[in-house]
Amino acid sequence: MADKIKLGVTFFDDCFGGVSSGCQVLCHGRSGSGKSILACHFLNQALLDGDAALLLTGGRARDTITVAEGFGMPFSKAAADKQLTLLEYASFMQDQDASANPMLPPQAFMDLQAVIERHSVRRLVFDTVLPWVDIHPVTRIAEHVYSFTHALERLGVTSLLTLTTSVSDPSFTLKNRLEDDCPVAIHLDYSQGAHRVAKVTKYLGAPRALSAPMPFVIVPGTGIVSEAPPALP
């Protein structure tokens, strides 16, 4: 059985003891639900553990550094020290998408392999995973997602995959396929006037709806923290 490592979110790690090293964690939810901040915690935990980490972001790398630094995470120094590698889809997957030739591995995946080997990356974040798995026709999604998650497993890195969900059928199909193939799945949600909640819908292959919703808040200077009262000794 693989060793466990911390996810980097205290209430999750207290409840589950972390995740298996080398597994894939899906974090899904609506826009603004906190997925990218959870990704920062995941990367920060890698830095705390002395692991090299890599972020592939759909946004701008410098924005991620600014956000993380605001939560007290030393991303700027880690990037300067080459412990943290930040890549942007806009330049990394230029003129490529997963549908270019769905029969063959995308060149970007080989490029990613090379970066992982060069920097001895142990933890990897795709914020978002969409460019790798959003292929047409939709009937190929199952095979594509299966192959992608198994390829990540073969890379030997622990991966966090974020996915913004919407109400469309293709979005649900994609989310469900990723949830099927990733050993761990976390759903983040919020509603106007209500608290944010994290729900672990799958944990190392165990049945879904495993945990009760875990209320959390995003605190300036700290990041994601549990809103639940501290447990009595």
């Binding site: 591995p105 995308p106 995946f109 095979e143 299966y146 192959s147 198994h150 073969r154």
Partner: protein, 120 residues
């Protein structure tokens, strides 16, 4: 360096793997059907077989895996498919298949497979 037989009815995949593997210095032969593959296998000069599970003239996948491994006579077999069922994986394991690669992403690991088979 070794002789590698690639079997896939998708010419794009055969061409991709042939280019990659020959670029590493190995000799490559290709087949696009099960019958063509078995004929080439009979020549006995193949060191590694990389085969798709779903071929137009192949029997049902579990029977095909068993037949392929039997005809390979101990030579390493690497299977390719989309999303394999647990039944197929169990069958491949039982038959001693060297590796199971899901298309498309895991094809990127073919170099690692060649290293384990041929060394270097």
């Amino acid at each position: 360096m070794g002789n590698v037989l690639i079997v896939d009815d998708e010419s794009a995949i055969s061409a991709y793997l042939a280019k990659l593997i020959s670029g590493l210095g190995h000799h490559v032969a290709t087949a696009s059907s099960a019958s063509e593959m078995l004929a080439k296998l009979e020549r006995g000069d193949c060191h590694l077989i990389i085969a798709d599970i779903l071929l137009p003239d192949a029997p049902v996948p579990t029977a095909w895996i068993q037949e392929l491994c039997r005809r390979a006579k101990g030579k390493p077999v690497v299977l390719m498919t989309g999303a394999p069922s647990p039944e197929l994986i169990a069958c491949a394991t039982k038959c001693g298949v060297h590796a199971f690669l899901s298309k498309p992403f895991e094809l990127a690991f073919i170099k690692d497979i060649l290293k384990t088979v041929f060394g270097g």
